[in-house]
């Protein structure tokens, strides 16, 4: 026995201890793996020894090797052996090894339960401590279940050292064995008030972590925590408590109110940045949760972000990079709820772009995205462009590039006022070497050139320059993405070639031999667009007696195209050989002096127009066409999938015949769908649904009111050479100044005209966001057409063109008066501020409704007569109403030329369903006094009633929900219920209001009439001739007719007038005879047959409701009786 011990001890002297192992590894850098494998062999020998000291030493070495990445799971049992040693030294090593190596699937863990239980109840607190520490790392659900009770007992141990550890490990136990939470919670709660600060903070920690997972259960603890928060001075604990409150406040908004004061105090007083940051973050989160939830009343309880922003500014200004970073991070959270308060720190954020630290710069970039406005876009982008030049490292530069494009293009180029500037920016960006984002720039160029018509000439000039200097882009490119830009350049130059100054030069540039080195899909575009240019040149040369230029062009094409015919790319080859043959044929004709320009340009005739995202849906499906039915027998599924639209920017794939999948599973289909979406997203011509855009209109009431004034560009459209975006910044500044000056002048004039002594001064002050007018207008195809919009005459259906967003409001509204108005309605607004002449013009179209009436004279103003002119307006000229003319609306225009409270009420009725009529009234205060307490009342008839809120009597007026300062207008809507629509209606109404002057206020009253004509109940509805014939054949319709004498206008004008004024659509027209159709909001069919001979027009009409028909015909008659 003794000998054995001696032998073991002697062996041990030669064993390596941990230090030897580490040293050995450091000395065997070249053959580390070999050295370690011999060490592991030794360790295996050592583990076979009975001596626990030897084993512990071996386990300790294994723990080290495990960290180096070697697998030691084979020694798990030996680790358990060492753990069970009665000696603390070995136990400690054993538990350490276990905590490093064991995981839930280690099977020996189940052997440890009893050992751990024994250690937990050991009289030695360090045994217990070591066991708890180890357990916290490898606790499994089984261990948690078996030991939960023991640990719970330890929470009340006499030694704080054990209590603390027991409390902390309970969190892990709860996670693994949730059933233990309920019995253990009361004790855990007790520990919040433990006399030992360590135990207390451990309890706060655990409850805070638990609350983060499920805050609802911990609301009841709020008062306790509140007490802790106000009494504790330990920042570690405070941070946890504040975090806990951050999780609780969304559930109990009243908490927010209570927290304001302590949080504000902490923010003001603390010197610990970590605590300050936590407070600020909690306040931000509180504001955010309030703004998201509909707890509006509580949002006021959170302190305004001012304090937070102020403090964050201090963080950002700090020289410590960490604080800077966190400051920016928190700022971006505030930006979501209070963009204005962040925007005022623009200077600071811009400074951060100069920071040495890339992560700080990226944060600042993120912030800038949300901070741009019309006013500062150019400035910010200019700053970014400087950084692009300076940036080293392509990743950051690419990031900058995408951010610039993101910032500019966000919300449909909302913030761009000058597109020449934007094009120049894009062109400048093409000079970046080695960027991956060529296709991004290209798609922007295409998008802008297509949608901003006014910019095309400029864009084409720039693109031509780019093509000419293509070698600069492609010079040192090897597979570099920037050549994608040439794709856009070539297409724009070809498509809009009529704007080219020198098409010949561009054509030459496009057919240079160097082009053949470009990627295939770009070459293909080059070839195709060379043909377009060719057509343009021929057209330009037409009529020129000297045909040499035209012939030279043909020769150039014939000389250069063969290069492309030989291209390895199929697409290029095919296009080139087609076009080559065509040109050869043209040349033949040219030699015979045949005029062919017309025919050649017909090849590329037609304009590409944007189409609204849901335009296709609006096209009525012709009767008898079943879109879901197969035309032929359905082929195998894979075939139908193969006709995916070809994206423009996809890399050309070699067109090997792929093996067809006969069976396509669900997953594959989903993948393909995704891929197709991706492709469509890359395709600039595929206009995607942009869900955000509509929101923009609704969320931002001011958008429609942005005055867009057509401005003569003070910039020459052609800038020689590549453009410099900087000059636009300057020019834009000048333009804005000029505008401002003009506006001021106008205002002065106005003031003079008013020649009022006490005219209030409202200086335009600093330029507000809305004052900046864009110099170009974008065609933005985002707004959906109103649902009943299906009146488009069929020939136009193929090329639906919807351009909205152009508003000519001459008098912008102040911020406070803006209401969320849908844009098609707003387009009507110009009329509200129309000049007198226009009003009379309109009324003259409708003599009957012009019924001007004398109104009661005002007591105050007896010498003045108040005339009310009353006009009815059904439609605007079609050119301006493209998208919304179908909205069957009636427009009443009231005009009260008065010196004192004068208002124009523009009443638009919008009939939306069978019995409800929405009337929008625009109140405009033209006098110099303040108007308030306006009440709108209409005398109900049996048929039509004003809808009043429940509980009010039938004669009560409706309060207009706003007041009107001088010179301000606002819109209010009133809903009427109409029972029968067969008769026209006139409703009498009164508007009462209080005129408030500086010294006095008087009660005033205006009478008016609302006129609902029968035509206004008609909706323009298209009808196909066969359906029309069926309708007439059915025999359900009563007929009636009318003759108009002395109509002196061409037939198509006459038809247009009926369509326009009375909401009909033409079904068919044969010579001087036409059939027309319309439908009422209650579904009555109205059919007309209009014939003309000389000056007599006869209208035979049929309708299922004779009274309605009679009235409609009367109204038609009146329309024409004045011509």
């Amino acid at each position: 026995m003794a000998l054995k011990i001696v032998k073991g001890s002697i062996d041990r002297m030669f064993d390596k201890n941990l230090q030897d192992l580490v040293r050995g590894i450091r000395n065997h850098k070249e053959d580390e793996a070999k050295y370690i494998s011999t060490c592991i062999d030794e360790i295996k020998q050592e583990l076979k020894q009975d001596n626990i000291a030897v084993k512990a030493n071996a386990v300790c070495k294994l723990t080290y090797l495990q960290m180096l990445g070697y697998d030691v799971s084979w020694a798990a049992f030996n680790i358990v052996e060492v753990m069970s040693s009665s000696k603390f030294t070995y136990k400690r090593i054993g538990y350490l090894a276990a905590s490093q190596c064991f995981h839930e699937n280690t099977d020996v863990i189940m052997l440890t339960t009893n050992q751990i239980r024994k250690d937990l109840s050991s009289p030695n607190q360090y045994d217990t401590g070591v066991a708890l520490t180890g357990l916290s790392c490898f606790v499994t659900p089984d261990l948690a279940r078996d030991l939960a009770n023991d640990i719970m007992t330890l929470m009340s141990h006499t030694k704080p050292y054990i209590r603390k550890k027991a409390v902390l490990i309970m969190y892990k136990v709860f996670l693994k064995y949730p059933e233990s939470l309920r019995p253990a919670f009361p004790r855990l709660k007790e520990k919040l008030e433990d006399p030992d600060p360590g135990v207390q903070s451990a309890a706060v920690n655990v409850i805070c972590e638990l609350a983060r997972r499920n805050p609802k259960n911990y609301l009841s603890l709020a008062p306790l925590f509140f007490k802790l928060m106000t009494s504790s001075t330990n920042n570690w604990v405070l941070i946890k408590i504040i975090k806990l409150f951050g999780a609780l406040t969304p559930l109990e908004p009243r908490l927010g109110k209570k927290l304001i004061e302590p949080l504000t105090n902490l923010i003001h007083s603390t010197s610990a940045m970590s605590l300050l940051y936590e407070c600020v973050n909690t306040v931000i989160a509180g504001q955010y949760s309030c703004s998201v939830g509909n707890t509006k009343s509580h949002s006021a309880q959170w302190p305004q972000p001012f304090l937070c922003v102020q403090k964050l500014r201090i963080l950002i200004e700090d020289s410590d990079q960490n604080l800077k970073y966190l400051g920016l991070l928190a700022m971006s959270k505030i930006l979501k709820t209070h963009p204005k308060s962040v925007q005022s720190h623009k200077d600071l954020i811009l400074q951060c772009l100069d920071d040495k630290d890339e992560s700080i710069r990226l944060r600042a970039l993120d912030l800038l995205y949300g901070m741009v406005s019309k006013k500062n876009l150019m400035e910010i982008v200019k700053k970014l462009m400087i950084h692009v030049d300076k940036a080293e490292g392509t990743t950051y530069r690419d990031e900058l590039l995408t951010k610039i494009i993101d910032i500019c293009s966000q919300s449909n180029y909302q913030y761009i006022t000058n597109f020449e500037w934007y094009i120049s920016i894009l062109v400048e960006l093409t000079r970046l070497e080695g960027t991956r984002h060529g296709h991004l720039i290209a798609s922007q160029m295409l998008d802008v050139a297509i949608r901003v018509k006014a910019i095309r000439a400029f864009a084409v000039a720039q693109m031509a320059t780019l093509l000419d200097n293509a070698h600069l882009l492609t010079g040192n490119m090897q597979r570099n993405g920037i050549c994608e830009v040439l794709y856009a350049s070539a297409w724009i130059c070809g498509e809009f070639s009529e704007h080219l100054e020198n098409p010949m030069q561009t054509l030459e540039a496009m057919l240079r031999p160097k082009v053949a080195t470009l990627p295939g899909h770009i070459q293909a575009v080059y070839v195709q667009n060379a043909a377009k240019l060719f057509a343009t040149i021929l057209k330009n040369q037409e009529g020129n007696t000297d045909s040499t230029t035209a012939q030279e062009t043909s020769q150039l094409m014939i000389d250069r195209l063969p290069l492309f015919v030989q291209s390895a790319n199929l697409e290029v080859q095919e296009r080139a050989s087609c076009i080559l043959q065509l040109v050869k044929y043209i040349q033949k004709l040219q030699q015979k002096d045949v005029e062919i320009a017309e025919e050649v340009s017909a090849l590329f005739a037609g304009e590409l127009n944007p189409v609204a995202p849901k335009a296709q849906k609006k096209v009525p499906v012709p009767e008898g066409l079943d879109l879901d039915a197969w035309i032929n027998e359905p082929p195998s599924e894979s075939e139908s999938e193969d006709e995916q639209p070809k994206a423009i920017f996809t890399k050309e794939e070699p067109k090997h015949s792929r093996p067809r999948h006969t069976e396509v599973d669900e997953k594959e289909l989903a993948r393909r769908r995704e891929a197709r979406k991706q492709e469509q997203a890359n395709n600039p011509f595929y206009i995607k649904a942009s869900p955000s855009s509509q929101k923009v209109y609704q969320d931002a009431p001011g958008v429609e009111h942005i005055p867009v004034v057509q401005i003569d560009l003070s910039v020459p459209l052609k800038v020689p050479g590549l453009p410099m975006s900087d000059q636009y910044v300057k020019l834009e500044e000048e333009r804005r100044q000029k505008e401002r000056a003009e506006k001021k002048k106008k205002e002065k004039k106005k003031r003079k005209e008013k020649r009022s002594g006490r005219g209030r001064k409202h200086d335009s002050g600093p330029e507000s966001e809305e004052d900046i007018t864009p110099a170009h207008v974008v065609d933005i195809v985002t707004e959906e057409m109103p649902e009943d919009h299906n009146h488009l005459p069929s020939p136009y259906l193929s090329k639906v063109k919807i351009c909205i967003c152009i508003f000519y409001l001459s008098r912008p509204l102040a911020d406070s008066e803006k209401l969320p108005v849908r844009s098609h309605r707003a387009a009507g607004a110009p009329k509200s501020s129309a000049e007198d002449g226009e009003v009379e013009n309109a009324t003259s179209q409708e003599p009957k409704k012009k019924s001007s009436k004398e109104k009661r004279e005002k007591k105050k103003d007896k010498d003045r007569e108040r005339k009310v002119r009353f006009g009815c307006w059904k439609h605007f000229p079609p050119s301006e109403t493209d998208s919304w003319s179908a909205l069957n609306s009636l427009f009443f225009l009231f005009f009260f030329p008065l010196a004192l409270p004068t208002k124009v009420c523009d009443i638009q009725g919008n009939l939306q369903d069978g019995s409800q009529v929405v009337v929008s009234v625009i109140f405009e205060n033209k006098c110099e006094s303040f108007l308030k307490s306006m009440e709108f009342n209409v005398l109900d008839s049996l048929n039509s009633k004003l809808q009043r809120p429940e509980g009010s009597g039938p004669h009560d007026g409706l309060t207009v929900p706003f007041q009107l300062p001088p010179g301000v207008s606002n819109e209010a809507r009133f809903v009427f219920t109409v029972q029968s629509i067969v008769m026209p209606q006139k409703l009498k109404g009164t508007l009462t209001f209080i005129v408030k002057n500086e010294d006095s206020s008087t009660h005033e009253k205006l009478d008016f009439k609302l006129h609902f004509t029968c035509t206004s109940y008609l909706i323009t509805t298209p009808c196909y001739s066969d359906a029309f014939a069926k309708l007439l054949e059915s025999g359900d319709l009563k007929s009636s007719s009318v003759r108009l004498e002395g109509v002196n206008m061409p037939f198509h004008h006459l038809l247009a007038r009926i369509c326009f004024h009375h909401h009909f659509s033409v079904v068919e027209r044969i010579d001087s005879c036409a059939s027309m159709y319309s439908r009422s909001i209650q579904g009555h069919h109205v059919c007309l047959l209009v014939k003309t001979s000389g000056q007599t027009v006869s209208i035979d009409a049929k309708c299922d409701e004779p009274t309605l028909l009679g009235n409609v015909l009367d109204e038609i008659k009146q329309t024409f009786s004045q011509c």
């Binding site: 001696v6 001890s9 490093q100 360590g198 920690n205 992560s359």
Partner: protein
């Protein structure tokens, strides 16, 4: 806190502590990835970065990087504070600590860490009580060891 890593400028792992169960393979992958990212950062850069769904807080002390992974809602600044506190503890224990101390006494470093953090949460915010606990445990260990050396002598004798 999800885990804490200590590694050297050369990319050698010196200490790792995982507070959530993670498979060996994933551990290795994450360590390799993080070391690459953190070592590539320039000295003047801030100490935070976003990585996968975690926030990484790291700080360099001499040739050693201390690197913690925390969750989305955790406070970065207090994590820096944790790292600093740990370094102070090491410093106090070893007496101006250097990388070699940690290499050769890695188990001691673990013991200190375990007294300071448990399951990823701060165990005690007072430096004093942590050091006291360590010293006493070490004392216990020495008591353990001294009778053993007597035994050994007996065995040899």
């Amino acid at each position: 806190m999800r885990f804490m890593l200590l590694f050297s400028r050369q990319g050698k792992l010196r200490l790792q502590k995982w507070y959530t169960a993670t498979a060996e393979r994933d551990k290795k992958k994450m360590v390799r990835e993080l070391m690459q990212i953190v070592l590539a950062r320039k000295p003047k850069m801030c100490s935070f970065l976003e990585w996968r769904d975690l926030k990484i807080v790291y700080k360099r002390y001499a040739s050693l990087y201390f690197c913690c992974a925390i969750e989305e809602q955790d406070n970065e600044l207090i994590t820096l504070e944790v790292i600093h506190r740990f370094v102070e503890l090491l410093d106090k224990y070893f007496g101006s600590v250097c990388e070699l101390d940690i290499i050769f006494n890695f188990e001691k470093a673990y013991f200190i860490l375990d007294e300071f953090l448990m399951g990823g949460e701060i165990q005690d915010t007072s430096k004093k009580s942590v050091l006291k606990a360590i010293e006493q445990a070490d004392l216990l260990q020495e008591e353990d060891e001294s009778p053993r050396s007597v035994l050994e002598e007996m065995g040899l004798a």
